[in-house]
Symmetry: C2
Subunit: 546 residues, 2 copies
Amino acid sequence: MLVWLKGYRRSWLAGDLAAGAVVAMMMVPQGMAYALVAGLPPVAGIYASILPLLLYALFGTSSSQSVGPMAIISLMTASALAPLAAPGSSLYLTLAGQLALMSGAVLLACGLLRLGFLANFFSKPVMNGFTLGSSILIAWDQLGTLLGAELPHWHGPSAALGLGALALLVLARRHGAALLRRCGLAAGAADIGARLAPMLLVIGAIVVVWALDLDRIGVRVIGQVPAGLPHLNLAVSNAHWQQLLKPALLIGFMCFLLSMSGAQALAAKKGEKLLTNAELVGLGAANIGSFLSGAFPVTASLSRSAVNFSAGANSQLAGIVTALLLGAALVLPTGWLAPLPLPVLAATIIVAVLGMLETATLRTAWRYDRADALALLATAGGVLLLGVEAGVVAGLLLSLGTMIWRESRPHIAVLGRIAGTEHFRNVERYETETRSGVLLLRVDAGLFFGNVEAVNASVEEALALHPGTRDLVLVLSAVNAIDTSALFGLLDLNAELARRGLRLHLAEVKGPVMDRLKQSALPDKLSGKIFLSTANAWTALSYQDE
Amino acid sequence: MLVWLKGYRRSWLAGDLAAGAVVAMMMVPQGMAYALVAGLPPVAGIYASILPLLLYALFGTSSSQSVGPMAIISLMTASALAPLAAPGSSLYLTLAGQLALMSGAVLLACGLLRLGFLANFFSKPVMNGFTLGSSILIAWDQLGTLLGAELPHWHGPSAALGLGALALLVLARRHGAALLRRCGLAAGAADIGARLAPMLLVIGAIVVVWALDLDRIGVRVIGQVPAGLPHLNLAVSNAHWQQLLKPALLIGFMCFLLSMSGAQALAAKKGEKLLTNAELVGLGAANIGSFLSGAFPVTASLSRSAVNFSAGANSQLAGIVTALLLGAALVLPTGWLAPLPLPVLAATIIVAVLGMLETATLRTAWRYDRADALALLATAGGVLLLGVEAGVVAGLLLSLGTMIWRESRPHIAVLGRIAGTEHFRNVERYETETRSGVLLLRVDAGLFFGNVEAVNASVEEALALHPGTRDLVLVLSAVNAIDTSALFGLLDLNAELARRGLRLHLAEVKGPVMDRLKQSALPDKLSGKIFLSTANAWTALSYQDE
């Protein structure tokens, strides 16, 4: 807790203050927009950016992570609550907070149980596919708001505001930094300045709507934002714990993945070591804070953390500054926000999520490993066709599926001796000598449940091609582990070969693998011997031959 | 289709006829009992054992598999339908058939898409845990029927019949075969004879109930079994396709796993090669046949297939014989079955499922690999606490979880040269020489999304311990594959090391791995070189040193 405070240096202060202020200005439109994505009143997005940031600063470890509302997590929240309550109803508000509480509890529990390795369950292409599908889904959902009516209709003034905002934001993203640099700003400052375009646009849009009374002619605005800090919320619906369990698990999991994928990149840039389990605790505390504020699930967003980092954040103090500034904004009069037009918020959402898209991963995977590219596309398709929850499950199964599929077809080589040496190589690639009656097989994969059958089948195939075999030697130099399923597989193979009068030997068993095997019945039951090296096996078995 | 018929030998006929008859006699009580587990009328269990067997004989490949109702699949059926319809209602019957149709379609599609590798998703300990949990759940559910009343009450005469049957079945299972051998039967025949105990018991129980009019005093009986073959059923509920999708996927998956785990053992005994994808097609066809018969999902059960095998089945003709005999039994008068007491059927179920239990896997795993043992117990616990569907998902995640967890902590060794040789070994295990400025690291695991971060973290740790390093050589002799995520990981590592003025080299890249890497940007972007052998790297880098 507050580990960063002990090593705090005075020289960090300026950077932390600046970054905190920049992120606070970014957070106002972003928080309100993502609250709308989650189906909640805009002010909930600000509530989700005060206490959660303070709690993350207490428990988290990353100096640049910026916790708060995030588009994909808001989408998942809306998707989880849609079947349970009507958006805007008081039950909906309660359940959104409860979901943050439960996701937070899941994250906290995973952190305390040291389950950080769960972050390794998604492959990079699948994560990319998930982001791709979710971004398109979010952008599509905002089109109606952008144009001011249910598709395929549109409302002229709203559409003009929305599309105008969209155009300005795209221009700002593409050319904003260059423009500011030409105006004399340093490169870093220019990049950050361009990131504040949404906030400037929001202020501009408020002025336009207010001046032209556009809300009178049908432009939807966010309306009165209640002033004051959030009240302490402890409301839960006891009837819904079970129904919220699965979404809470999935949201907790994705909060963690989304946060880690950004944090790792930033930590590497700073040479920081990220404590995965501490990070889980920090995110868990932040989500529980969001529940207490009556808000909804939060996580660190890559884009916001990157701004925080570039703006000079040196410690979690930057987050505390952001939280204090946002708190102050709520304590001051909030009436000026009321004319903020929804089409402009929709435009900020669309530009933000489409900014998450990149095709480099897909292109690389397509050339490098087609299966990974297909997993990426299938995950994106799953999100679009089956929804975001099914998309997480599909992504999980596709990540693991591609791996199991790969691992379930291990490479197995028949070895021969390079004449006159103690080297043994693949007979298909080298000029080697073999000995009739002795078959040397090298298995190039760890043995585990996913390839037990494939290995046994390959062994049978090899035996069928070498009919006179009496001694089979499995060379385990590339076998880094043997799990319980594979142990049973070896015992079965040994028994089956013994039944047919063949002996099974092992050679070059690695130290850690051998340590485990000694705890099993295999060494006793093995019909043959365990040799230190292939050369030993070769000599010993030729001796028996004579 | 009918591949086995082409090679049929006359000498097989006797065995096939005998096995077919034995399995038919086993199937009568088993089919009716498992129909009850699934919440269906007993006759549905016989229906599920006619057309499905004929279709499996057409499309399946295993000569000993015995398809039909199976306890765990019946439990999954009941659990899937419980929230959708009342057992005994006409909707329930429709949905049970629809579930068989959908599971069958899933199996068929997986077979045609050659997705047989999906059988590799469950580890043996997790499968064992799943069977353990399901067996206990099934036995527990039958306790009320066994004792003739809702627990904790019991109905005297029913309980007497049920517990008596239980005692007789346990005795028959423990000592039946020995007794028959002492009566002069050969060992094989005695084993099979003992397996017919349930059928004999059923006949005895019918006589007792009929003679003593026990149904008048409250013993529940199965009642009138409709005579005649099943009518063609095509009924589906269009409102339920979506709700049945998840259960159908899970049931299809478990049908396949349960069937394969038995089939593989028997195929090995016969030296047969099991065609996984053909097996999927056979099981799919059988389930669609069960739908057409108005029954419920079916699979091959290990215990029944083992009896089929021991009784001499040489081909799928044995299954056809079983189907014909059961069809004949339905065409003949069926009134004699009516007094069959439910407590006795419950006893056959309890003995059958408890017979599936074995503790050898748990004991072996506990000694050999604690994580596998815990996964076994957690899966069993998941089934018992959360239900059988959640149990499948838990099993899947635990199988894959234990693997990812293991793989996410790869072993990485610092290598040194054994003086005067070209051999490089772990500096901690051998007397070696190292060269300042050059760090050789051997990674003992395939590189994939699950260990990208761990590998990069280990590299950083090793670098921190060897502060003067200018050249880092990754020795990839034990790396059998590098997936897209790991490719990005290597690119990141390369960029990060270059930023710090370190060069990254690779050595001993395996052929198939190198073929892939050539399709990527890595060879161009690599700050160092790719060496054929560690010795080459050692020589080249020492040359630069001078």
